[in-house]
Subunit: 192 residues, 2 copies
């Protein structure tokens, strides 16, 4: 059985949010998560290259734009995820990645701009990576930790929807790491 | 408490689906729901006008494109909804509308093409309508029955996401009807 209780106090009126599918922006988002290079310590193989990036201006790494809905069963969270292009050493820019706290919840990522991969793993170590770009929707099924990787030269932007109660569990995947990294080697994109 | 049980046998590998946000299509959808005018009996005020439309070729009314995922808790259903333009008498083409069987589940509709409204009501009769078009996302909160209405002259297309266990309850809203209809009167779009 599930470990949450339906809260009928969370009744909402319907509403509209501007989601510009051409500019790949949510122009009036009220929640704006910003992660710079300095927020990514421990995630890349080449820590010295990350340190150098942080010293040289600590550039914007990725952003998440949302408007708030109740983080509880029945609601749907939604966001624009925007990951800048770049590399740390030979490793492409990526998000931290997370499991959902309620592990058995999925997420949909509809690509709006850019080119990259959704890199995924299960708690028992199975690895999967799917290409994402404008016009491709990646289905992240229940149980899969997921991270976006930008292998192109423009921002990788997607429209995400996930269940309200899902939550974010960054700690476990930070401890485990993902089984493969996405690297540029001799001009080729490789996973190893 | 909720009336479903987590089914861990439904483990899925991640996958990609083509969702063309420019053409507003899901070109490789394997599930394709088609509703012609003849499927809409009882929904429009002007039954004679609908009968005439049915006699004159029974035109395509709306379509839903999907690829299958398990219809159970944790998964997310997704679809392209495509509603043709037109009128039955002075009433704009619309979908049947439905509650979710699990009433406390939301849905997101991201507009990709066309112009119209998402018309909504609660079981206790509260009415709401929100504009939808390319670049507008309508949030249908838990408890709200919802119907798309096309007030433009091209198909109204949106990208929908809703919880796997939500289900469709067409019967109750068919019995109740929506409190207002969307009509063309003297060249103006009105709700009454």
């Amino acid at each position: 059985m599930l470990n949450y209780v339906v809260d009928r106090t969370s009744f909402l009126e319907p509403f509209v949010v501007d989601v510009d599918v051409d500019a790949a922006t949510m122009p009036k988002a009220t929640n704006h998560l910003v992660r710079r290079a300095s927020a990514m310590r421990g995630h890349y193989a080449d820590a010295a290259a990350l340190d150098e990036l942080i010293r040289n201006g600590d550039p914007l790494h990725y952003e998440v734009f949302e408007t708030p809905v109740p983080e509880e069963y029945g609601h749907l969270m939604y966001c624009i995820s925007k990951l800048q292009p770049g590399r740390v050493g030979n490793e492409f820019f990526m998000t931290k990645g997370h499991y959902h706290t309620v592990l058995e919840t999925a997420e949909t990522y509809l690509g709006l701009q850019g080119t990259g991969f959704m890199v995924m793993k299960t708690p028992d170590g199975t690895f999967n990576a799917q290409p994402i770009s404008r016009g491709k929707m990646v289905y992240v099924p229940p149980y899969w930790a997921h991270r976006s990787v930008n292998t192109g030269d423009e921002p990788l932007v997607s429209w995400c929807v996930y269940p309200g109660e899902a939550g974010h569990n960054y700690g476990d995947i930070e401890d485990e790491g993902f089984p493969k990294r996405v690297l540029l080697e001799n001009g080729q994109i490789v996973m190893r």
